[in-house]
C-alpha cells in the first residue's frame, strides 16, 4: 500500500497551475507547425451554458475527441459556429486561439484523471457503456 502510493506519487509531474478546465487541443497543430490552441472553459462559461456547445453544437465531452480542423471552423462548425465575426471575433486572429506552448499534448488542465494517471486520460469513444475492464484504473499502473 505504502509502496503503491509512493509509485503513484512519483508519476505525478507537478506542472498543474493553469486555470482549471483549460483544454489544450493538439491532434494536428504541432505537426502543422502551429502552437496548439487553448480553449478556456472559465471564459466561455461566463457567456454560455454548457448545453450551447455540448448539446446544440455537438461538442463531445472529450479533449481532442471532436476532430476539429480549420476547414470545419471556417465552414461554421465547432469554434466556427461563434468565431465567425458575428457572435465572436473571426478566424483571422490565429494567435488568440493558437496560444499554447508548442509540444503541449492534448489535455484538460486540472483534470483529476490526468493527475492520477500522469497522462491525459484516454476515454472510451462510447462513454455511454459501463466502463469496461480496458478503461484505465489507477491501481493497474505500477
Amino acid at each position: 500500500m505504502v509502496l503503491a502510493l509512493f509509485l503513484l506519487t512519483l508519476e505525478f509531474v507537478p506542472s498543474a497551475t493553469a486555470e482549471y478546465g483549460d483544454v489544450v487541443i493538439n491532434n494536428q497543430s504541432d505537426k502543422a507547425g502551429m502552437r496548439p490552441p487553448v480553449f478556456p472553459h472559465w471564459f466561455h462559461r461566463i457567456r454560455f451554458r454548457c448545453k450551447v456547445c455540448h448539446a446544440d453544437l455537438g461538442f463531445k465531452f472529450q479533449a481532442g475527441g471532436n476532430q476539429i480542423n480549420m476547414l470545419k471552423i471556417i465552414d461554421g462548425e465547432f469554434c466556427g459556429a461563434c468565431h465567425n465575426g458575428e457572435i465572436a471575433w473571426s478566424v483571422e486572429n490565429c494567435d488568440v486561439c493558437h496560444s499554447g506552448k508548442p509540444g503541449t499534448p492534448t489535455q484538460v488542465h486540472g483534470s483529476t484523471v490526468q493527475k492520477l494517471l500522469g497522462a491525459p486520460a484516454p476515454k472510451p469513444d462510447n462513454a455511454a457503456a459501463k466502463p469496461d475492464t480496458t478503461s484505465p484504473k489507477p491501481d493497474k499502473k505500477k
Partner: protein, 184 residues
C-alpha cells in the same frame, strides 16, 4: 476495493496540498505553464484574475462558485444561439446511500439542468432510472459518470463533501428520488 479508494484519497490530499495556495490564486497567463509567453497574441487574452475575482468566491476549481454566480445573476450565460433550443430545468433530487462509511450523496437535477441539457447525461452517461446505472466511486475517480465533468470542468473530486452532503444519521426521508420542491 475500499483500499484502492483510500489510496486515491491519500493521493488527492497530497495533490491538493501541493497545488495552488492563496498566493498564486489565478496565475498570469504568461506564467501558467500552458500558454506560450512568446506568443504575440497572449496580450489579447483576458487574465483569469480580472474576470474571476469579481465572481462569488469558492475554494476549489476556478475558485468561483458557479452555481451561486448563475443563481444571483452575477453572470448571465446565454442559453442558446439557435432560436429554438431552450434550457429545460428539472427540480428533482436523488439521494444515494451505497456510500460505505461516507455520507449519502445528493444529486440535484436543478443545479445541473440550469447549465446542461438532458441529453448531455441521458442516456449516454446515466440511465433515466434511479440506481440503474450502478455508479461506483472508483469509476468516478477514473473519469466516468459524475467524474466526466467533476474533475475536469465542474468542481473537482477532492471536494467529497459537496456530493457526500447528506448525514445518514439525521436523514429521515427515503433513498432515491426526492419529493419535488425539496432543497435545491
Amino acid at each position: 476495493m475500499s483500499g484502492v479508494i483510500l489510496r486515491i484519497v491519500c493521493l488527492l490530499l497530497f495533490l491538493s496540498v501541493g497545488s495552488a495556495g492563496a498566493a498564486d490564486k489565478w496565475l498570469p497567463l504568461a506564467k501558467d505553464g500552458l500558454h506560450d509567453p512568446n506568443n504575440p497574441g497572449i496580450h489579447e487574452l483576458q487574465q483569469p484574475k480580472d474576470a474571476l475575482s469579481t465572481l462569488p468566491e469558492d475554494t476549489a476549481g476556478n475558485l468561483v462558485s458557479w452555481v451561486e454566480a448563475l443563481r444571483k445573476g452575477v453572470i448571465v450565460p446565454r442559453t442558446n444561439i439557435m432560436p429554438d433550443t431552450k434550457i429545460q430545468v428539472l427540480d428533482l433530487d436523488l439521494i444515494y446511500s451505497k456510500t460505505g462509511d461516507s455520507w449519502y450523496v445528493r444529486f440535484p437535477h436543478k443545479a445541473h439542468t440550469e447549465w446542461l441539457d438532458c441529453t448531455n447525461c441521458h442516456e449516454k452517461l446515466f440511465k433515466t432510472k434511479f440506481g440503474a446505472t450502478g455508479i461506483k466511486m472508483l469509476d468516478i475517480l477514473s473519469g466516468h459518470y459524475c467524474g466526466q465533468c467533476h474533475g475536469a470542468v465542474a468542481f473537482p473530486l477532492t471536494e467529497c463533501r459537496r456530493c457526500h452532503s447528506v448525514n445518514p444519521d439525521t436523514f429521515t426521508g427515503k433513498i432515491g428520488p426526492q419529493p419535488v420542491g425539496g432543497k435545491p
